[in-house]
Symmetry: C2
Subunit: 336 residues, 2 copies
């Protein structure tokens, strides 16, 4: 059973999940390589269907699907399966005995975004990307209505530097009983600001960014994408709906997913055109389910390219170094 441990002095929380060590890692050679050892001549990424547990034909190598989207001929083109190596357990089978540890209960699923072996989100068609968003909303609604969980997160690790262990295009969902500390801090600030100002902090942020203009990457079809003022990394992009929408999973209309897929696809293509082969994380931050009424929140997607390493300063102080001002990054992305 994975365990959630807290360090009471530093306040950090860690999921100690021994079963994660058993995951296959297609990038293992690559990672050894960046530690100074030679990479294997065979290359790092499984590129054959027979090796990849996420490819069509290898369904028996994952748990049964809990959700699928099919093409007109009835073949699946997207599957959601429970994670074989979950970082959280489905229920606490035994209590932990340490006062700073608790059983890490939650759900952990994998969204396999295509049946064919492709390794980048940009290689999905806009229609396929639309299916992906529909699946996100469906699975978030599923776990929200389960009742045991107060927070749902979708994230994607693309490329070994972003933490991926398999190359086949996929993302992950986690549902957790508590609101994680970093999210809690943002929620508190946003709700307090909403109470003081009487309007959504994110709506006002969008208005300020549009009025300033220097950090805007894309502004169309009801969405705005910009490089945040305090970007952690070069070319970080936030994408938000311009209308006030609290929870991503509240959205149901076909048109909503269509427009979103179109805009995100455009942003990703710009990013990959500017930094070919970039590793990045994508985070979908929907409103915490336990927030009073969710009105302090406004959902967003974050694209976080991994172009510089988190080093000693970041680890010691929480202060990040970004060598590319977001104003320059946005200009380059607009032109890409």
């Amino acid at each position: 059973m994975p365990e959630l441990r807290t360090d009471w002095l530093t306040g950090r929380t860690v999921l100690v999940a021994e079963n994660r060590a058993n995951r296959p890692n297609e990038f293992a050679d690559e990672l050894r390589s960046s530690n100074g050892e030679p990479a294997s001549a065979a290359g790092a990424i499984a590129s054959t269907v027979s090796d990849c547990p996420f490819c069509a034909g290898n369904e028996s190598r994952t748990p049964p699907a809990v959700y699928t989207a099919n093409d007109p001929s009835g073949r699946w083109r997207l599957r959601v399966v429970p994670n074989m190596y979950p970082a959280v357990g489905s229920e606490a089978d035994q209590p932990t005995v340490h006062p700073l540890a608790e059983p890490a209960v939650g759900a952990h699923e994998v969204i396999i975004e295509a049946a064919r072996h492709i390794d980048r989100m940009s290689l999905l068609s806009v229609t396929e990307l639309q299916d992906v968003f529909v699946a996100y909303a469906e699975r978030l609604r599923h776990w929200r209505s389960d009742g045991r969980f107060n927070y749902g997160l979708i994230f994607k690790n693309q490329g070994a530097r972003a933490g991926a262990s398999l190359a086949h295009v996929h993302s992950q969902l986690m549902a957790l009983p508590g609101i994680p500390p970093a999210v809690e801090r943002e929620l508190q600030r946003a709700e307090q600001d909403f109470a003081e100002q009487g309007s959504c902090a994110y709506c006002r942020l969008i208005a300020r960014e549009l009025s300033d203009g220097r950090r805007i990457v894309v502004d169309r079809d009801g969405y705005v994408a910009f490089c945040p003022f305090a970007s952690l990394q070069p070319c970080e992009v936030w994408l938000l709906p311009k209308a006030h929408e609290e929870a991503f999973e509240q959205m149901r209309s076909r048109e909503f997913f269509q427009r979103l897929a179109g805009v995100l696809h455009a942003v990703i293509r710009k990013l990959e055109s500017l930094v070919p082969g970039a590793a990045y994380n994508m985070l979908l931050r929907t409103a915490p389910w336990q927030s009073a009424d969710g009105s302090g929140w406004h959902w967003r997607i974050e694209l976080l390219p991994r172009l510089t390493s988190f080093a000693g300063l970041e680890l010691a102080t929480g202060v990040h170094i970004n060598p590319l001002p977001p104003e320059s990054a946005a200009g380059r992305l607009r032109d890409a």
Copy 2:
């Protein structure tokens, strides 16, 4: 002038330091490689004296030394130089205009730990490591007495995955006017605990770890090294003096540095024997200079191997996944 920017919603702080983009990076090929592009055949690490700005003979390629340690023949064996590409500026030449930005003022130095071209701390002799600690204490005292700064940090990035851009063995010092947010949180907890309990929180942590025993790696010569209960990464090690010592730079006796060098050398050798070629960060956390009387703090060294990547979950929630329980890690390190 680098700028310190704060995101008022997420609370994160970022040093936007454009000049950092001009740094030479010996690992650039390697990093491209782990993004999926081929590494150059030439290999990533400058291994010839003529290429390396930190090697003896190339002193003109760095600013003049502000501190040196010499061998008996008068040749330097350790140099401290101002960082050519500082993440902070020496003084604010112009005010910033954004309410969430301020000029990032501070000192940023490089400690070149050997005159010969070696790329791992473990290749230093114990005597050389002792010189390194003497230099740390000397430079921390220098900046502390400068009066403009309230926090001093020493860190080392070893290997590309840990954020190093040059291979030649070195570490860095930063002195900052304010206490960084992550340090401030720990300081508040530690001081509150000291006030409530009437004794140092870290001294009691050491006593608990020694009594439990499962996470102890080394216990000798007045120091204890253990894998912390909420280790962020496999084989993370904290090293603390068993006696209550608040600030590292208060220590001056030759014997102090000798014993510390011996113990740290032993721990590093264990780590490198268990994980050959490991990339890691080393952090020296001394008491913040601005703390009331420093009595809430107790200095420590953290060794943080970079064996897993920070991925989407970590970035979104601040919760880390560690697949190796520290009890197992400590057992393996004891045996290594």
